[in-house]
């Protein structure tokens, strides 16, 4: 049954509809008249203007590429520069016969099949009358040859453009990253208008993270061209705006000292300025020359980097994840003190084994002589001599919940938020984490492994440095940062509202213990104390690269070098008024005290000597 059909009046509805339709028909005709008026205006009234514009050769709008922002270290030393480079470009519209032009060019300078293949690909993506690159980085001789033969190479020209150059080569490659040509995948995600006239984009590191700042704004020029397409007159020009200049917290000198200290070792070091959270030095060894990537790396070079056993392309400082080992002990000690789980006077007897009720297999101290650290091991001694047995018991008493809660506050188990892309988060294990990632409940055995920084636990060298800085600053929570200023304008510090809650006396106690790691006669890092004019506080660590049975003692002579233990070290200095904090790892370096600590000392020494104020570079 139709709704209201009984009362509806079909005839009246039809008339109403017809009237409505008439109204729309009239409006349609009116709007069509408006369109006709517009086309009449363009095609008849203003025909002359447009015909001239279209016939008298063309008025072109060409992009003017901005120059990329520069990057400076804290002392205004340039670490990413732009240098002129000459490319061979072609405007196919200007050449009568493109194939002949390419053949002619091949007689003047060397042009490979691959160059031509890539050129044809680029041709498809360009705008009409836009210069398209054929060869990059022309040499002095090539430019001369092209100039001499210019008359028979109509349509080809050399054009100068600025190219990224990294004066220090491999020194900053992992931090600063590099720019490279925009690839097909990127060209689909970028805003095409912004990149008109620019053919490179930040690929990794700061170059990628600050791409929007560094890029600058493209300008344009309106030019008139003659029949051959040569520019005869510039009608109008909107200048390009160069990208923002970045000033980093990094100190080239420290970077250099650290880099040299690694020699041919593999590993990473991060040094943080405690007051600001600024990164003073960030090294991942071995490194590579970023300049190779700027105008396209050869397959051979790329393969040799990619397949090298040392993995030079891998940024160990923010992406490498290692068990923190004993470097975690000061943190866990602080938690136990704060929560009254042990007092400083609490002592244990260490005979080299730790038994846990219900578990037959004991936990041992792999890196210490059989028999253990003996009687009267208190927390200070356990830190100074790095006694595992003490921390096994302390860990179980504290419980994983407190350990993991504080661990997170000290920067472990989540990204630190540094201004770099693709940072790893590490793992600070907890009940929830294990349930989520393994689907299993937490066992006491897991806590025991965690209490010496082994087991599931993983941290990046950056996280170790952040933890060290937070211990040194007595619980101040600052987000680490590389960029100090953009165009001379200082960037705000990212500081948490409240500090980590630990009593002063516990900080005092732990700082003293860490100082004794370096300065007391039984400290595990005593070897670096020779000739120190100031005090360093630190903690060594050793992390297993492979697992070892409880019954076996670790013996490096029995295993391949790449399976040797990793050596770790965290430190801050000066111990009584900390300014710099360090976290570092030497892969397969075996002992924190002998392999890692000397590198830290070299960097801290350089810092203590140079400590000059920073300068900010404006535009």
């Amino acid at each position: 049954m139709r709704d209201g059909a009984a009362f509806s009046d079909p005839a009246r509805e039809r008339i109403m509809f017809a009237r409505r339709l008439l109204v729309t028909a009239v409006i349609t005709v009116l709007l069509t008249a408006l369109l006709i008026a517009r086309y009449f205006d363009l095609q008849i009234s203003r025909y002359e203007d447009f015909a001239t514009q279209s016939n008298n050769n063309r008025v072109l709008v060409r992009p003017v590429a901005p120059s990329r922002g520069l990057i400076y270290d804290r002392h205004s030393k340039l670490i990413a520069d732009n240098r002129p480079s000459y490319n061979l470009t072609i405007v196919p519209e200007r050449s009568a016969d493109l194939d002949k032009l390419l053949a002619d060019l091949g007689e003047v300078i060397s042009i490979s099949e691959r160059d031509i293949e890539r050129f044809r690909k680029r041709l498809k993506q360009r705008r009409p009358f836009e210069k398209t690159n054929l060869r990059f980085n022309l040499s002095e001789e090539e430019r001369a040859a092209l100039a001499v033969n210019g008359h028979r190479l109509v349509g080809a020209e050399t054009s100068a453009r600025l190219k990224r150059f990294y004066p220090d080569g491999e020194l900053f490659s992992h931090v600063v990253g590099y720019v490279g040509r925009i690839n097909e995948r990127e060209s689909q995600t970028i805003e095409a208008v912004k990149y008109r006239g620019t053919d490179s984009i930040g690929k990794i590191g700061l170059e990628k993270f600050y791409e929007q700042n560094l890029l600058g704004e493209v300008g344009s020029e309106q030019v008139e061209t003659n029949a051959l397409g040569r520019v005869t007159r510039v009608l109008d020009k909107t200048g390009a705006k160069s990208g923002d200049n970045l000033t980093l917290y990094l100190d080239s000198q420290l970077q250099k000292v650290g880099h040299e200290a690694f020699k041919d070792k593999r590993g990473a070091l991060v040094a943080i300025e405690i007051e600001t959270g600024g990164i003073l030095s960030m090294i991942s060894a071995p490194s590579y020359d970023p300049n190779l990537f700027v105008s396209g790396i050869s397959q051979k070079n790329y393969d040799s980097l990619l397949y090298s056993l040392d993995r030079p392309l891998f940024d160990r400082a923010v992406r490498g994840q290692y068990p923190p080992g004993s470097t975690i002990k000061p943190l866990f000690g602080l938690i136990a003190l704060q929560h009254n789980i042990v007092t400083p006077s609490y002592k244990i007897k260490d005979n080299g084994y730790f038994y846990f009720k219900g578990i037959e297999r004991p936990w041992r101290d792999h890196n210490f002589a059989r028999g253990g650290h003996g009687d009267g091991v208190d927390m200070a001694k356990a830190i100074i001599e790095s006694c595992n047995i003490y921390f096994y018991g302390l860990g179980v008493k504290t419980g994983i919940d407190l350990l993991s809660d504080y661990g997170m506050q000290f920067g472990l188990g989540s990204r630190t938020g540094i201004d770099l892309p693709s940072e790893s988060s590490g793992i600070m294990p907890s009940r929830a984490w294990k349930k989520g990632s393994r689907g299993q409940s937490w066992f006491n055995g897991d806590t025991i492994n965690t209490s010496i920084g082994q087991g599931f636990m993983l941290a990046t060298p950056l996280q170790l440095a952040v933890m060290s800085a937070r211990i040194a600053s007595r619980g101040e929570v600052l987000t680490p940062k590389l960029v100090k200023a953009i165009n001379g304008e200082e960037q705000p510090l990212l500081k948490a509202e409240s500090d980590i809650n630990i009593s002063e006396k516990h900080w005092d106690y732990m700082h003293q213990a860490m100082q004794d790691v370096v300065h007391s006669s039984r400290g595990t890092a005593r070897s670096i104390s020779n000739g120190l004019t100031y005090k360093i506080a630190g903690k060594t660590g050793t992390a297993q690269a492979i697992s070892i049975d409880a019954e076996d003692k670790y013996d490096s002579s029995k295993i391949a070098e790449r399976q040797w233990d990793h050596a770790l070290f965290i430190a801050f200095a000066p111990a009584d008024d900390p300014k710099i904090a360090i976290g570092l790892i030497v892969e397969n370096g075996e002992h924190g005290g002998s392999a890692a600590a000397p590198i830290a000392r070299a960097v801290i020494d350089a810092y203590m000597q140079s400590n000059s104020p920073t300068t900010l570079v404006k535009r």
Partner: protein, 375 residues
């Protein structure tokens, strides 16, 4: 229950026995459509730099569309009236699915990947919304009462907002206007019309600040001063107006347009194809094509007037008016009096899905036009 209609018609002594009636084909409509398609293919050949590939593909879609149109025309309008709500709900569900599983490019999610083929639900809604509204309002006592107006408005706004979220502002405006036309033709009261105008005026600032994306705002700003954006959309408009203007009265001749042939004109085979036509065939060409479009719309309006049911009238009227919106928006945008939204020129611009959707709409019109008289 309508399965026997075809047979019944053949046998009915008083029925129209012309072959076109039996085949449910409206001859004037078919002729105009074929003329438009031929012009479309000719212009496309020139606009695509004389590419047979594009022309072949486009012709294939036109043939598919033609057959789909004739197929659709075989179903009685009453069937569409009855099933419209089902099609509408399906369309709505797939629009929601697009929000979650949609695929697309450059930040817009418009497609559902069905494995074999891709499907764009917003295209379906261009027909489903007017059909549902025509079906719903056609059954009511007209002009519609407040309750019916409210339901129709809600049924229109839900897909409009979903499509705007994708984001596809052009299509969402088309759906919105089709809903409005259906209500208008159903006799929407003057007070409602006035408040719609006021609401639209109030909506402009809201859209600007809360709904529109930066790139969409940029296009409106570009319209006001194309010189500000020489490397982006402004460039397109400067080039297209030059192409149109330099065509003059009679044009430069087929495939002779310098602006389009030398690749100055962007998107010359899709949204900006009218510029190629205007450059090569001049104002005469533009007027000729507009005349064909007006003939088509006029024929559709006559079909609407003569339709047997209120559903048929509203549906046919809405389709013809929406068709005009396409033409007006596209020709206005290319000639620089409207902002650049992605809107193809019907039957001329290259693009398969859009063509098939258009033919489907005209298929329903043919069904309405050839519906046997009710006694």
């Amino acid at each position: 229950m309508y399965r026997n209609d075809f047979v019944r018609q053949l046998n009915s002594p008083g029925g129209d026995r012309r072959p076109s009636r039996i085949m449910h084909i409206d001859i004037p409509l078919l002729l105009i459509l074929m003329a438009l398609c031929s012009i479309g293919l000719a212009v496309l050949y020139s606009a695509s730099a004389e590419s047979i590939f594009y022309v072949k593909r486009q012709a294939t879609f036109m043939l598919i569309g033609l057959f789909a149109m004739i197929g659709i025309a075989q179903f009685q309008p009453r069937l569409w009236e009855r099933w419209s709500i089902f099609i509408y709900v399906c369309g709505l569900l797939s629009l929601v699915a697009v929000l979650f599983f949609g695929v697309g490019a450059k930040g817009a999610q418009r497609w559902l990947d069905l494995g074999v083929t891709r499907f764009q639900p917003s295209e379906l809604m261009k027909i489903a919304v007017p059909m549902t509204l025509a079906s719903y309002l056609g059954k009511r006592h007209l002009p519609p009462r407040f309750k019916h107006v409210s339901i129709a408005v809600i049924a229109t706004l839900i897909p409009v907002l979903l499509v705007a979220r994708q984001p596809d502002l052009g299509t969402s405006l088309i759906i919105f206007s089709s809903g409005f036309f259906a209500l208008f033709l159903a006799g929407l009261g003057k007070r409602y019309l006035l408040s719609t105008v006021l609401l639209a005026m109030a909506a402009v600032p809201t859209m600007w600040f809360y709904v529109m994306y930066d790139y969409q705002k940029q296009r409106v700003l570009t319209l006001l001063s194309p010189e500000q954006d020489k490397l982006g959309a402004g460039w397109n408009i400067m080039q297209s107006t030059t192409a149109i203007g330099s065509g003059g009265l009679s044009g430069k001749g087929w495939t002779q347009g310098t602006q389009s042939q030398l690749n100055f004109l962007p998107e010359s085979h899709t949204d900006f194809i009218i510029a190629v036509l205007a450059e090569e065939f001049g104002l005469i060409g533009v007027l000729g094509m507009l005349a064909l479009y007006l003939l088509l719309i006029g024929r559709c309006m006559i079909i609407a007037l003569n339709a047997q049911s209120m559903f048929g009238r509203i549906m046919a009227g809405t389709i013809s008016l929406t068709f005009f919106v396409y033409i007006f928006v596209n020709m206005g945008m290319v000639s620089g009096i409207l902002p650049v939204v992605g809107a193809p020129l019907p039957f001329i611009s290259y693009g398969g899905t859009a063509i098939v959707t258009l033919f489907l709409g005209f298929g329903i019109l043919m069904a309405i036009s050839t519906e046997p008289k009710r006694i």
